[in-house]
């Protein structure tokens, strides 16, 4: 589809000629995010620098009924930022100011295009911790993290992104600028729109400023690795850890295929002969961390670990965590089409879910590697395929439909941290039910009467 006459000129008026991209090549570069198999080109890419510019673009878009897809770094894995109906991609990557880091109030205020790692570094420079820690932290933007409620590696002990969003500035599709929440933990005035917008995936409003809570930086961080014969064994160790009353900061697992791929990239000396590894870690006061690591080692050993080692220093801990964060792209070394999914089940069902995934993969004749956040039951079964093999891709879709159904059967969910986007939308009703789907649509209409914001995604 093309744009109505005059829209491009008006956009240039709003953001300047330099902030509008129209050439075929420039549009092609915005046809996809990190989700495989979803491509659609926008008609124009717009780079605003201020909230006023975002508001003016949205007013214009509502007036002319042009679809708008807000986009950060485009690292999401559910096609949330693919412009399925064309229109405007609103790239927020030039809104990159850290407006405030306050050590007394323990908060930071940033524009949406700041990368997660930059915010974490700015906090760390003041001896503060920004908790949310998604795998894509060096690339992904804070705005994108909030929009998808990205989780990460610290979910078990600390919760996910939504637990740290204190306030938002957001522009409604009709152009009004609202400020939800603010600088307070305790604030119950009105509906909790901060939580509603967190995870709304750019379908209700465009986030233009985010206020996040920070914590004092823990004095010590420690990490260890336990190797097991199988992922199911590792899951049993997770159960043993939790039932012993320890809530570690990190509890991540990789299966044998993931270990091999990560080792190929990061060359850390991981054991290739083990069926699975469990990366455990804790932070806090020095004595507490040291004590917990020793207990974790003991529990893993008793649960049948082949070998358990503790990282000797912070640098080694960081390297191990960094390697874990790159599991997905590293897996693509096995085959260039990787479909990664994101189911979560209650922790006691973790081992059963892993068995289910293995059974389904075997039945469909697919290579599915699994890694994830064992501590919070969040699994990433990842199918590695040949992109030319349409028949295998079809089988993979069928297999994942069964995996989602199994997760729901276990009282789990179809996405724990990546979001719904276009990729999970067909499965959303299975999780929420028809009544809730209708409510979602009514909420969507209240925010976005013209239906211009990110069509084809949640609420559509």
């Amino acid at each position: 589809m093309g744009l109505p006459a005059g829209v491009v000129d008006a956009l240039k008026q709003i953001v300047g000629v330099d902030g509008v991209r129209l050439a075929p090549g420039e549009l092609a570069a915005y046809a996809r995010d990190a989700t495989p198999l979803f491509h659609a080109e926008p008609d124009v890419v717009v780079f605003p620098r201020t909230t006023e510019q975002v508001a003016a673009v949205l007013r214009l878009a509502t007036e002319h009924e042009v679809p708008v897809v807000p986009r950060g770094a485009g690292s999401n894995l559910c096609a949330a930022t693919v412009p399925l109906s064309g229109g405007i991609v609103l790239a927020l990557t030039r809104m990159t100011q850290i407006l405030e880091v306050d050590g007394d109030e323990l908060l930071a205020r940033v524009q949406p295009g700041v990368t997660t790692a930059r915010l974490a570094d700015a906090a760390a420079a003041r001896d503060l911790l920004y908790v949310p820690d998604p795998g894509s932290r060096t690339t992904s933007t804070v705005g994108g993290n909030v929009a998808t409620c990205a989780g990460g590696l610290r979910g078990l002990k600390y919760g996910v992104t939504r637990n740290y969003v204190l306030g938002l500035e957001a522009v409604l599709p009709t152009g009004e600028v609202i400020r939800t929440g603010g600088r307070l933990w305790k604030d119950v005035a009105g509906y909790d729109l901060t939580r509603l917008l967190t995870g709304s995936e750019g379908t209700l409003a465009v986030l233009t400023e985010v206020t996040v809570a920070l914590l004092p930086k823990p004095a010590e961080v420690g990490t260890g690795i336990a190797y097991f014969d199988s992922l199911a064994d590792a899951c049993r160790a997770v159960a043993a850890i939790i039932s012993a009353g320890i809530v570690p900061a990190t509890l991540e697992f990789l299966d044998q295929k993931c270990i091999a791929a990560v080792e190929d990239y990061a060359q850390l000396g991981l054991r290739g002969d083990a069926g699975a590894l469990l990366l455990f870690g804790d932070d806090g006061p020095i004595e507490v961390v040291a004590g917990n690591l020793v207990r974790l080692r003991k529990i893993c050993t008793e649960a049948g670990a082949l070998e358990v080692t503790l990282a000797e220093d912070v640098a080694r801990s960081d390297a191990l965590l960094a390697a874990r964060r790159c599991s997905l792209p590293a897996l693509s070394r096995l085959g260039s089409l990787t479909i990664l999914e994101d189911v979560t089940v209650p922790r006691p069902r973790l081992a059963a879910m892993v068995d289910q995934i293995d059974e389904i993969a075997a039945r469909f004749g697919l290579l599915i590697a699994t890694f994830g956040h064992a501590g919070d039951g969040n699994l990433h079964p990842t199918c590695v395929l040949d992109p030319e093999d349409d028949e295998a891709i079809d089988r993979a879709h069928k297999a994942f439909a069964e995996i989602f159904a199994a997760a729901i059967r276990f009282e789990g969910t179809i996405t724990g941290e990546h979001g719904v986007g276009a990729a999970k939308l067909p499965f959303l009703a299975d999780r929420l039910g028809a009544d809730q789907m209708r409510l979602l649509r009514r909420i969507k209409t209240a925010f976005d009467p013209a239906g211009i914001l990110n069509p084809g995604k949640v609420g559509s």
Binding site: R21, A23, P24, G25, E26, A28, A29, Y30, A31, R32, D33, A34, P36, V45, F47, A73, G74, S75, A91, T93, R94, T96, G113, T115, A117, S136, T138, T139, S140, V262, D264, Y265, A266, C326, L328, P329, A330, S332, R333, S336, L337, T338, P387
Partner: protein, 349 residues
Amino acid sequence: MIFDDDLLERCISCGFCLPACPTYSLTADESSSPRGRITLMRALETGQLEPDDPTLVEQSSFCLGCRACEPVCPAGVQYGDLLEQWRDHQWQGRNRPVLARLLMAVVARPWLLRLQGLVRRHARTKVRGRTYSLMLGCVERGLYPRVSRAALRLAPGMQAPRAQGCCGALHAHNGSSVQGAEMAEALGKRLPGTIVTTAGGCAAHLSAHLGRDRVKEFSEWLVEMGAWPQGEVRVDGRRARVALQDSCHLRNGMGVTRQPRELIKAVAEYVELPGAGGCCGAAGTYSLLRGADSRKVLAPKLAEIEAARVDFVVVVNPGCLRQLEQGLRRSGSRVKAVHLAELLTWAEE
């Protein structure tokens, strides 16, 4: 087929490369990121875009070719190879910048390079053994002959044969990779034994064609030989404060980062620049072809160097030396840019 299929398919668009890319950090625009450029290459491959498409023309030349995206890519995309193939297709005939054509014609003629030796007193020795040959490099020979002299002083056992040519990196990076490969192989035949080079860019290109064992970058070679410099470099009676600017191709292409730092630490107080691993904007012919962009990439680095309060900033590649020398001079800095080999010869007992 323009691209090696396997190379192009490797990218899964995860975006881990974005923060490493110097041009993306200038524009925040996907089409000037490695992931976006690979999307453009795919569009070229499938015929969705023609070679004269303005975005393809612009982006193929806007890319510095620094390969900072390679070490951060968990999927193992070999972007440098893709860029060479891209330019091979796109920079044919009139599409290749005139200046690049001129330089390529000059350095492809060994006799012209040898003529430089009449006016520039670079290192030269008779061919004595067959163990280690110092490569003179086409740019360095003309601009910084003192570097090869310094290298020979530090490693008296090395030979510097006169009959050398250019390694062909310039060709490979400017859309003529077949000729670039042929030149590397020809140079490999002319220089006996292990080839040692004081230019990071040449080292990466040569080792890609002659094998990693056959080619050593100078700092790598010194450390391997255990030829540690003695003494220390002093400024105003104190130990000099020295920073390093990595050579992109040495760092991202060959993974050599530790050795130059160790050598500096042996003779001076080493200061790590926060952006030492990021491109300085020289990028071979880039500083000549795209001066304004080159200076934009350099600007934050100059600020870092000033803030670090160092006496010298050391480089391991002649292009970077020229870039930093000019940048520091223009900004009125008192910091001097020097090649590692020069710095090491200044160490006094």
